[in-house]
């Protein structure tokens, strides 16, 4: 396929400086940086809410917040982390790395790119401003289940609008990614030569376009149910509350993979570099990602086994869910095979990658357990589920992003980060993460429901441990901010290759990567 690199040649030679540069920028690297900074800021905001949750749960009894505010915290914590931290973070990586990895000078639609980003801060402000309304923020859980959401105050409406904006932003971002990958690849960069990170993002982008509009539709129906006399979900008007759950999870399950697939891509970039060996089973990795994406559309109701489905439905969704373990297993086995008989070193990115593979697999296995319908009746809506999705989302997506930051930071800034501090950050994160979330498996099995501000006395010990872990986990993340700041400000000069003979076009560029790259397409062997 031809490249359109030449069309973009002369636009960006002079760029403004200061604040105006960041507001008006159409440069994929600037926008990538903005996305990543925004993501980290949201990570801290959502994290602060998690601290409130864990502080309240530190002891039985109501200490710090009242139950309604507690519900707002769990709801907004999830919304902020999902839509504010993880998704934009992944888009940040896409912006920075995809054009470089495929030898393109920029994203295909640079002005749209600027737009997609600048929607985000306004959406986030809208979402957070819901706390200032009379009824407070949304308190019905991030799943926004009707009819509870219909009861909420104006905060719910603000949340719905914020979700619309976030949805528009991610769909625009996804369109940009697809167009870039389809039309901007350097000559010779065939689809099956693209780095796995590009592949995972291509598939993620299609998932985004397929499900974000469905979610937008669902919340729009909520909005009209709340204010305009429709009754999609309200039984009082002849609606069906379970319908909302079906529509929500039709979006919600692919959404989970939207958050994890790019993480798989990052891991697949890091592990070969530090194993000094090519990625094992590239083709099957691509197929596995495509398989996972396909399956994500046909398993949604495993989130709602307890709503009372006919037997045949329960059996079908159980089997389909169990199938996901196969392609996911293939990925894990391929990563292990990549390390096998390599020449391994353990720099910070590699530590994070190994951590992700191990911990994500714990989340994957608990996910398999949750997929077994009869057992799910016991696990459903307990802390077992909370533990499960933090193992896949935090130690899957978030830790993969941290690994990705350390991996590419020298390329972005031109300086090496502080390796000692980086490793310290990894160990603190991993240890505190496990202290926080591993005991939650036991809490869930023992019978502690999720989303409760207070609990029976038999749950006390594990909650204390979990809260202590959470505080440690929260504080440790400030270290990352310091490491990145220090690296941006200075440090040992990074070589162009940075690591030991890594694969990929990004390492053929100087460090730091110049403002404009690949204005003449590179030659792909």
């Amino acid at each position: 396929m031809a490249t359109v690199a030449d069309d973009h040649h002369d636009h960006h030679d002079h760029h403004p400086t200061g604040l105006i540069r960041w507001i008006t920028t159409t440069n994929h690297k600037d926008i990538g940086t903005l996305y990543l900074l925004f993501s980290f800021a949201m990570f801290l905001v959502g994290g602060a809410m998690a601290m409130v949750i864990r502080a309240e749960l530190f002891q039985p009894g109501l200490q710090i917040v009242d139950p309604h505010f507690f519900n707002q915290m769990t709801t907004v914590h999830a919304l902020v982390m999902v839509f504010g931290a993880v998704m934009p973070g992944m888009v940040g990586f896409a912006n920075w790395m995809i054009p470089i990895m495929i030898g393109a000078p920029d994203m295909a639609l640079p002005r749209l790119n600027n737009w997609s980003f600048w929607i985000l801060p306004f959406a986030a402000t809208l979402l957070l401003s819901s706390f200032l309304t009379a009824g407070g923020g949304p308190a019905a859980g991030w799943t926004l289940y009707a009819p509870l959401t219909i009861q909420g105050g104006m905060g719910v409406d603000l949340t719905i609008f914020a979700v619309h904006m976030l949805g528009i932003s991610s769909v625009l971002g996804a369109i940009n990614v697809i167009v870039t990958i389809f039309n901007m690849r350097a000559p010779g960069m065939d689809f099956m030569k693209m780095p796995l990170f590009v592949w995972t993002w291509l598939i993620t982008a299609f998932l985004l376009i397929a499900v974000m509009p469905v979610f937008a539709g669902a919340v729009t129906m909520l909005l009209t149910d709340r204010h305009f006399g429709t009754a999609f979900f309200n039984p009082a008007g002849g609606g069906d509350p379970v319908l909302f759950q079906h529509i929500f999870w039709f979006f919600g399950h692919p959404e989970v993979y939207i958050m994890i697939l790019p993480a798989f891509g990052i891991i697949s970039a890091i592990i070969p570099t530090f194993s000094r060996k090519p990625l094992f089973g590239y083709t099957s990795m691509v197929l596995a990602v495509a398989g996972i994406a396909f399956l994500s559309f046909i398993v949604w109701a495993h989130h709602m086994f307890t709503v009372g489905m006919p037997l045949i439905g329960e059996v079908y969704f159980m089997y389909a869910t169990m199938l996901i373990a196969v392609p996911t297993g293939v990925k894990v086995f391929n990563w292990v095979a990549t390390m096998w008989r390599g020449s391994l070193t353990f720099e910070t990115p590699m530590l994070f990658a190994i951590g992700v593979v191990v911990l994500f697999t714990i989340g994957g296995l608990s996910g398999l357990m949750l997929g077994i319908t009869p057992a799910d009746f016991q696990y459903h809506d307990t802390y077992f589920v909370v533990a499960h999705f933090h193992y896949v989302l935090f130690s899957g997506s978030v830790m993969a992003m941290m690994g990705g930051v350390y991996y590419w930071l020298p390329k972005w800034t031109g300086h090496m980060y502080d390796e000692k501090l980086g490793k310290l950050h990894f160990w603190l994160t991993t240890i505190f993460f496990n202290i926080t979330f591993f005991p939650q498996h036991f809490l869930g099995l023992a019978g502690m429901p999720r989303r409760i501000p207070d609990y029976a006395l038999q749950f006390t010990e594990f909650n204390v441990i979990s809260s202590l872990g959470a505080f440690g986990l929260g504080v440790s993340q400030l270290l990352m901010a310091y490491i990145v700041y220090k690296c941006v400000k200075g440090g040992e000069k990074a070589t162009d290759e940075v690591w030991d003979n890594p694969e990929g076009l990004e390492w053929t560029l100087p460090s730091p990567a110049p403002y404009h790259t690949f204005e003449t397409p590179p030659v792909i062997k």
Binding site: P241, V330, G342, P449
Partner: protein, 298 residues
């Protein structure tokens, strides 16, 4: 490889008693609580087996990985080989997990069929979730009451010492006979709730406008405690379920004592339907939650 196999066997033999010896775990609150129903026992067995298989897979895969991390590290001078695919390996680790999954699916399906069979029940209890309490209607005898959290507010607010069954105690317990097949019809008044008693292994959503069915058969007398498990608003954490399982004789006596007299049955029924009065009356919760067990701290 020999050493690896040995390590594998050792870790396995250490794990099996851990995962199978559930009573010990249950006392520590590490595993599902001791079940008191046939379904609960079935689920516990299923859960233990799946957990065991998952643990073995985990230890196996990461045993290999950590061995690699140790043996193939650069600092030890290991030279990287450059292989990047092996069709045999790829097929193996697609087929074997598939077989394991099929092995898991068979008993799970059988279990599920048992769980969904609500036919030929001896007794039907209708459960209605309210913000934030439960209501029980014994359809066969006309017994009906609300069940509210009975924990003292001061305990919740840390002013008084917390009792043994803190947050898991109610004013009116659901009395059920042992050894009988009990069918629950579950619905809700306002938003979605979920009725859960872990030891009975019964969890079903209560959805306004719709009814769900689920059944249980309790093996032994006792008091079994559970909670609402679907976020239902501010007091979601404060609407527990307490089941008191008694012998059939005791149950009959309890019914006789609490059932409305034949003539009054109609009257009471009417009262209930209007949502006004009940045997164990408690006012329908108001919008500002004035009757709520846990006051807001603002």
């Amino acid at each position: 490889m020999v050493r690896l196999n040995k390590a594998f066997t050792v870790s396995l033999s250490a794990l099996i008693p851990l995962a199978v010896a559930t009573p010990v775990f249950a006392e520590w609150g590490l595993n599902l609580p001791t079940p008191v129903t046939p379904i609960g026992e079935g689920i516990l067995t299923l859960h233990n087996w799946i957990l065991l298989i998952c643990t073995i897979i985990f230890v196996g895969v990461f045993g290999v990985m950590f061995y690699s991390l140790y043996a193939h590290r650069k600092s030890k001078g290991h030279k990287p080989s450059q292989f990047s695919h092996s069709t045999f390996a790829e097929i193996t680790w697609t087929v074997i997990p598939t077989l394991i999954l099929i092995g898991m699916a068979i008993p799970s399906t059988a279990m599920l069929i048992k769980m969904e069979d609500t036919s030929e029940a001896d007794l039907t209890v209708k459960i209605t979730g309210y913000q934030w309490k439960w209501r029980y209607d014994y359809l066969d005898s006309g017994v009906q009451f609300y069940s509210n959290l009975s924990t003292d507010r001061n305990e919740i607010l840390n002013k008084n010492e917390k009792g043994e069954n803190y947050l898991l105690e109610v004013d009116n317990q659901v009395v059920l006979p042992i050894g009988k097949k009990i069918r629950f019809l579950i619905t809700a008044n306002d938003v979605i709730h979920s009725w859960w008693v872990p030891q009975l292994a019964v969890k079903k959503d209560a959805i306004p406008g719709f009814i769900n069915e689920v059944w249980t058969k309790i093996n032994e007398p006792g008091i079994y405690r559970g909670q609402c498990t679907e976020l239902c608003g501010r007091e979601h954490g404060f609407m527990p379920v307490v089941v008191k399982a008694v012998s059939v004789e005791e149950f009959d006596a309890w019914v006789a004592e609490n059932a409305p007299a034949e003539e009054q049955a109609e009257e009471t029924q009417s009262g209930v339907s209007g949502g006004q009065t009940l045997v164990a009356v408690s006012a329908i919760s108001t919008e500002d939650g004035a009757d709520d067990p846990a006051p807001a701290i603002r």
